[in-house]
């Protein structure tokens, strides 16, 4: 026999009331923690893919679209730019490195991106098997593309025009898989990599020859040598159809827009938590009223007033610990479901599914408020008039 056991059994006696308190708190805590987790996952994913890309050069249009299309490959590109113009920027003294990208086709929904070897190297991805690209129409397949499509080394396939569906297939051009990438958890995992020449060749009209100066690409990922590049480059390209965008700033803007939705969700979550604390308070207070006689009985049998107060505090404490723990579990289930839903867009880092520091804070706060909510009936328990309570019935 112990106070804890008694508190546990008392909660078990009122299963409905106990379940209601638990469910409410679990949902409140779960929602807040899910927001924390998904924000963390999102910013991790964003940061991992921005990785040293200071500027993105592409066709004029929405700068955010330019970033989403070329850094994360989740949006359509803004248009094409002339390779010759792009090369001028890449050779600018303030620019350390430029990675050109050209794309416009897909294989079963995965983008086929033409670039050079430095694109894959930039994300630290290595070959799991096979070799690097040597000639046009050779393809190195990203880890997740290989896992989803089952493409293996030596396989051949046709590409489809566009970035989404497979209605317009280029039947005359055959791609060959020569390598498969190790998982890097970056955007290169979900792309098929080939040379830029391959992209040009797919779209070339066999009856016309293209002047080298008319060659087009989609975008260039730039790494600056000098911070002034951010100011100088936009000026230098003012008269072209090109623009540069800063991934860090655009993503910041994006998350701020997200933020409004996030804040609404957070407010709803807090309201649910408040309701759950009210429910814990009512639950414990109701127990106090219904079991006043039992508490008086305990006093008659030798319990000190603090003993009966402890009993009520333990009931509130058990409820809040249970609800908060349930909530943290629930948010992880939610995250897994969420990850399944947006699997095609973002790579999730399962390593960070552990408890975040913010969640420990949330857990501690839930227990503290749960205890505080039961302290009010607890203090009333101190003041029970035993003699009167015993004479009432």
């Amino acid at each position: 026999m112990s106070w804890l056991y008694m508190a546990w059994r008392n909660l078990g006696l009122k299963k409905l009331q106990t379940s209601l308190s638990l469910i409410l708190l679990a949902f409140g805590v779960g929602l807040v923690s899910l927001l924390m987790l998904s924000e963390k996952q999102l910013s991790d994913t964003f940061d991992r893919n921005i990785k040293d890309i200071d500027l993105v050069l592409g066709a004029k249009g929405s700068p955010l679209q330019l970033i989403l299309a070329n850094v994360y490959h989740v949006d359509a590109p803004t248009g094409n730019i002339r390779l010759a113009d792009a090369q001028k920027v890449m050779r600018h003294p303030y620019i350390e490195e430029g990675i050109p990208l050209a794309y416009g086709d897909n294989y079963r929904g995965f983008r086929i991106v033409g670039s050079n070897a430095s694109y894959i190297e930039h994300y630290g991805a290595t070959l799991q098997s096979g070799r690097a690209i040597e000639t046009p129409f050779e393809v190195v397949v990203g880890h997740r593309v290989a896992a989803t499509t089952g493409l293996q080394i030596g396989d051949t396939f046709f590409s489809a025009h566009g970035l989404q569906d497979e209605t317009d297939v280029h039947k005359d051009k055959t791609f060959t898989v020569v390598g498969i990438l190790e998982e890097s958890r970056a955007v290169v995992d979900q792309l098929l990599h080939c040379s830029i020449e391959t992209i040009w060749a797919v779209h070339a009209n066999p009856n016309e020859t293209i002047d080298e100066s008319e060659r087009e690409i989609t975008a260039v990922l730039l790494k600056k040598r000098n911070p002034l590049a951010v100011l100088t480059i936009p000026n230098a390209i003012r008269d072209t159809n090109m623009q540069v965008a800063l991934p860090a700033i655009e993503i910041n803007r994006l998350t701020q827009n997200f933020g409004i939705g996030m804040n609404t969700l957070r407010a709803i979550a807090l309201i649910i938590m408040l309701i759950s604390f009210a429910s814990i308070f009512i639950s414990v207070y109701d127990n106090l009223l219904a079991r006043k006689y039992e508490l008086a009985l305990l006093r008659t049998m030798g319990s000190s007033p603090s003993g009966t107060m402890l009993l009520l505090l333990l009931e509130g404490g058990l409820l809040s610990i249970g609800g908060a723990a349930l909530g943290l579990g629930l948010s992880r289930v939610g995250l897994i479901i969420l990850a399944q839903l947006i699997e095609n867009k973002f790579q999730y880092d399962w390593n960070s599914i552990g408890i975040l520091p913010g969640e420990w804070g949330l857990f501690g706060m839930a227990i503290f408020v749960g205890l505080a909510a039961s302290a009010i009936p607890g203090i009333s328990a101190l003041k029970i008039d035993i003699s009167r309570t015993l004479s009432e019935k």
Partner: protein, 217 residues
């Protein structure tokens, strides 16, 4: 051994002063306090076990003056020396009969003698109900279970407040017989407070409380 001397009690300053006759009950002795409802029987019982503080007079239990104990010490003293049986049996509803029996020892910080509890329930004829919830017992069974709980920690005094008023004649005889038998076995003094005239003839040592006998205004 319990002795009440010159006890006077007042609920509020404007309410009448109740004064009670002097009482004494030796260890293993029996005492019946008889009186109609409203004559202060329960008040006296609560004064005896320290739940109420008398405005005058003293209660001494085994030589200890209850008025000299601190609140916490009084709680503990009550738990240790008294076993109380109420008119209606009350238990911790969420716990089984056996778990309810473990409470007095738990509150006194002593280990629970489960075998003795089993023996006690056996003697009271409710050993087969040990693991049921109190509310699943009949009224008579509940009253026996509360006798077991009042005696389990071997108190020196058992106070019974209307232990039989909710019972029919047959159950009354059985319950009061068990109560006396178990108190005698445990060596505890038994003080029964009741208006139940059925019990009157059973006790030699009895005090009748009447409103007029003790109200001095």
């Amino acid at each position: 051994m319990i002795a009440c001397t010159d006890i006077k009690f007042q609920y509020r300053t404007e309410s009448p002063v109740l004064s009670f006759p002097n009482l004494e009950c030796a260890n293993t002795g029996q005492l019946l306090l008889l009186g109609d409802s409203g004559c202060g029987k329960t008040t006296l019982l609560h004064v005896m076990c320290g739940l109420l503080q008398p405005s005058e007079g003293q209660v001494a239990v085994n030589g200890q003056d209850l008025g000299r104990l601190s609140d916490r010490a009084l709680d503990r003293f009550r738990g240790e020396h008294f076993g109380v049986i109420f008119q209606q049996s009350h238990f911790i509803q969420s716990l089984s009969v056996m778990e309810n029996l473990a409470i007095p020892h738990f509150l006194l910080g002593q280990s629970f003698p489960k075998q003795e509890a089993q023996k006690l329930l056996n003697a009271l004829g409710i050993d087969h109900k040990a693991h049921e919830k109190p509310r699943d017992l009949s009224i008579g069974e509940q009253q026996r279970a509360s006798i077991a709980r009042a005696l389990i920690h071997k108190p020196s005094i058992v106070l019974a407040d209307e232990p039989t008023s909710a019972l029919d004649d047959t159950s009354t005889a059985a319950v009061i017989h068990l109560l006396e038998e178990q108190c005698a076995e445990a060596g505890a003094a038994l003080i029964v407070v009741t208006h139940d005239q059925r019990l009157k003839s059973r006790y030699k040592n009895k005090v009748e409380l009447t409103p007029s006998s003790h109200v001095t205004s």
